[in-house]
């Protein structure tokens, strides 16, 4: 079943056939034929962003909140180069997106034409794969192939560069079913012998811990269900990376909280003291491991990952299992049940007692005193007042991001969207727009810092145009908080360029966009202000003025092992006092 059509129409047809309902984009000279086709149809909604970086982050937000592939469409040259940050972000966090870029006509490629850039060259290291499609006959297959690559195996961003003459020319359209994808088929099933070896280790382990990551969420909702079943049946404590929050519910009995540099005390201590570490879809990121030589010194380590290059990359693994988390967990449960559902119950009960002791340290405790809002308190109240809503959270990058991961609880996967690997300030606002497009009736909140938020604030225009009631919850400390924290703790309190001067009046800014602005500085007013934000039917910029010099704890300083965590005021108070805590 092939049909003749122009390349531009092919793009739209291929997107429809791939089940795409939303495209985030920005028009320009080299994509005008595609925009002309978009104009003449109603199946695909096009969301006009205000900057191409926003388009890619919005596509990421859409992808992460739905599990589907996100799509962005931008023009050649600056359109493509502006997409680079989003592509890199999606690569590091394994988010499936397809970015379509326009290109100058094939006969002008290489001539330094207007708005020409070597897009496939620039984006080669920041995509999972990319294509320059020079032939209209090959275009539809390339697009179908691109969707297949984006969502198969370890998901990631792909890019198709489409010269303008290819968009104008006629060619044969072939549907997804006719596209050969056999050349890229990552292994899904894990090796059953290795899985059995892991089950054996699990049966006798005295201090086991599950260390889960974004791979569980990328594997789909079934993987999260299997994980829950496994944890409940074995009574083994479970922690997660920033990327994996929600795979196991925060209200679950075995939940340790997030681990890593700003992870919870009980999570990091359990990782340090375990005798069997079962890594499920995480990648031993440097924010997780701390000092490698002292990382979980006494444990046997198993690692389930769909990407063979993740295994043994930084940590030596005793039981490697290459495969999709969902498939492997299914087999693991099957083998474990068939062998009689054994665990070392007495030892695990003792281990759980130890965990309970660590938990009782209550590492997230803080004191809300006086008339200044502590950022932790703001998030605690936000959690209390929104937890029963159908809620999606995005964040920017910095202290607020870590506090959000610590104080907000996620019960389900795909509810938490944050830039983990790349740490992209400016991610949250467009990501909230992408999530809200996918879930128009849900409560979508971007927990932000004022500095990060300013990086892509132009997207408020998008929120207004498309009536997306995204809530921008800004913890405003008038500082680049995380930078300031590092300067205080590690650079002799020399606060080099880490404060936000000449900040806008966020309420007036909201009003200028036509949105609602709320400012809150008094802890006693906070609940009412948050309720006002939730109840307002439209975009809100919430300027929450918080304590300016609050540090984010717990913290594992770089180059330190997990058990040498700083627990906050108690352990650093002296240091800060001694240094004089000079304000800038």
């Amino acid at each position: 079943m092939t049909r003749q059509m122009t390349g531009a129409r092919m793009v739209v047809q291929a997107l429809k056939d791939q089940g795409v309902d939303t495209v985030f984009g920005y028009p320009g000279g080299a994509v005008l034929p595609i925009y002309d086709e978009i104009f003449q149809q109603n199946d695909i909604r096009h969301v006009l962003v205000r900057h191409e970086q926003g388009a890619v982050h919005a596509a990421e937000g859409y992808a992460r909140s739905t599990g589907k592939v996100g799509v962005a469409l931008v023009t050649s040259g600056p359109g493509a180069t502006n997409a680079v940050t989003g592509l890199t972000d999606a690569l590091l966090d394994s988010i499936p997106i397809v970015v379509l870029t326009g290109q100058v006509p094939t006969f002008m490629i290489g001539s330094d034409a207007f708005q020409e850039a070597d897009t496939v060259g620039i984006t080669r290291p920041c995509t999972k794969h990319n294509w320059l499609c020079k032939d209209t006959d090959a275009l539809s297959e390339t697009i179908h192939q691109a969707f297949h690559v984006a969502r198969s195996g370890r998901p990631g961003p792909v890019l198709i560069d489409i010269p303008k003459d290819v968009q104008f020319a006629n060619g044969e359209y072939s549907p997804p079913q006719a596209t050969n994808t056999s050349n890229y088929q990552p292994q899904l099933k894990g090796d059953i012998e290795s899985i059995t070896e892991l089950v054996e280790a699990l049966e006798s382990a005295e201090r086991p811990v599950f260390y889960t990551g974004g791979g569980v969420i990328n594997s789909g909702p079934a993987a999260s269900q299997l994980l829950r079943e496994l944890v409940d049946a074995t009574d083994i404590p479970i922690t997660s990376t920033l990327m994996g929050l929600g795979a196991y519910p925060a209200s679950g009995k075995n939940w340790l909280g997030m681990l890593g540099m700003h992870g919870l005390y009980e999570a990091n201590m359990a990782m340090h003291g375990c005798d069997l570490m079962i890594n499920i879809g995480a990648r031993f990121d440097d924010r997780i491991t701390g000092l490698l030589d002292a990382f979980s010194p006494g444990s046997k380590k198993a690692h389930i990952d769909i990407d063979p290059s993740s295994i043994n990359k930084v940590i030596r693994i005793d039981i490697p299992i290459v495969g999709d988390v969902g498939h492997v967990l299914e087999d693991l449960l099957k083998v474990w049940k068939a062998r009689g559902r054994k665990t070392n119950k007495a030892a695990i009960a003792k281990w759980n007692d130890q965990v309970a002791q660590w938990r009782s340290v209550d590492c997230l405790s803080f004191k809300q005193e006086g008339k200044i809002i502590k950022p932790q308190y703001a998030l605690q109240r936000l959690e209390a007042l929104t937890k029963d809503h159908d809620r999606y959270i995005t964040t920017e990058v910095g202290q607020h991001q870590m506090w959000a991961a610590q104080y907000l609880n996620f019960e389900d996967p795909n509810r938490w969207m944050t830039s983990g690997g790349l740490g992209t300030m400016g991610y949250g606002t467009p990501a909230s727009i992408g999530a809200q497009m996918a879930h128009p009736d849900s409560l979508v909140i971007n927990v932000a810092g004022e500095a990060s938020w300013l990086m892509n604030m132009q997207e408020m225009g998008t929120a207004m145009q498309f009536r997306l009631p995204v809530k921008q919850f800004i913890l405003n400390n008038e500082r680049l908080g995380m930078v300031r924290q590092w300067q205080e703790l590690l650079h002799g309190e020399r606060y080099s360029h880490s404060w936000s001067e000449a900040l806008p009046d966020f309420v007036k800014l909201a009003e200028a966009f036509g949105a609602k602005g709320i400012i809150c500085s008094d802890p006693d007013d906070l609940d009412d202000a948050i309720m006002e934000m939730i109840n307002y039917d439209g975009p809100v910029i919430f300027d929450c003025l918080v304590e300016k010099h609050e540090n984010c704890f717990p913290m594992i300083p770089s180059g330190k092992p997990h058990n040498e965590m700083l627990l906050g005021e108690a352990s650093t108070h002296d240091a800060i006092e001694a240094g004089g805590a000079v304000l800038v």
């Binding site: 290291p125 794969h129 990319n130 490698l292 990407d307 770089s558």
Partner: protein, 187 residues
């Protein structure tokens, strides 16, 4: 920051842990990468090596299957065993790569390289160069009254040895192809 016990001037001041994690010995491996011959395929492989800081000691590439549009890239690289494993895994991740063979561990392999040597000289030196070329089974592919161009094939070590011998005899210029390699046996 006494309370933090962070030593000034140490790498611990960094946001990253700068200590090398494994200090195993360096090994040289010959990898054969079979890749769909699409535009940019070679750039992906080279970009991977430069982007992730791996070494390339030698690299050859040519289309070996014109019908199937498959190219074979032979790379000689150096690293700790863990880095070599990582290189193979990362190569395997590249979408158009259909196979990665480690000829150093997969069993015995034949490794060959072609070298062209321009040697200038007269009198005794000229005769000596010719005599050594004969011993090394190098062919004369160009000759003037003052110079020879020798063509030699063999393992890289043999070509190194030939180069060492030619140097005092008036070696002017060298061109080498890099290693092409295949596993021995019927498989």
């Amino acid at each position: 920051m006494a309370a933090l016990k962070i030593e000034k001037g140490s790498s611990k001041h960094s946001a990253y842990n700068l200590r090398p994690n494994f200090s195993d010995s360096q090994e040289t491996h010959t990898l054969a990468v079979v890749v769909e011959n699409e535009p940019g395929a070679l750039a992906r492989v080279i970009g991977l090596f430069s982007g992730r800081g791996y070494n390339i000691e030698s690299l050859t590439v040519a289309e070996v299957d014109h019908q199937g549009h498959l190219s074979r890239i032979t790379i000689v690289t150096k690293g700790t065993p863990q880095v070599i494993e990582q290189i193979k895994a990362q190569l395997g991740r590249i979408v158009p790569v259909s196979a990665v063979h480690d000829l150093t561990v997969d069993g015995p392999a034949v490794e060959r390289e072609l070298g062209l040597f321009k040697v200038n000289g007269d009198g005794e030196k000229r005769i000596e160069a010719l005599r050594l070329a004969e011993i090394f089974r190098a062919n004369v592919v160009d000759s003037t009254l003052e110079s020879f161009v020798f063509e030699i094939t063999g393992a890289p070590e043999k070509i190194d040895a030939f180069a060492d011998l030619m140097r005092p005899l008036g070696l002017l210029e060298v061109a080498r192809t890099g290693v092409a390699a295949l596993s021995r046996g019927a498989e």
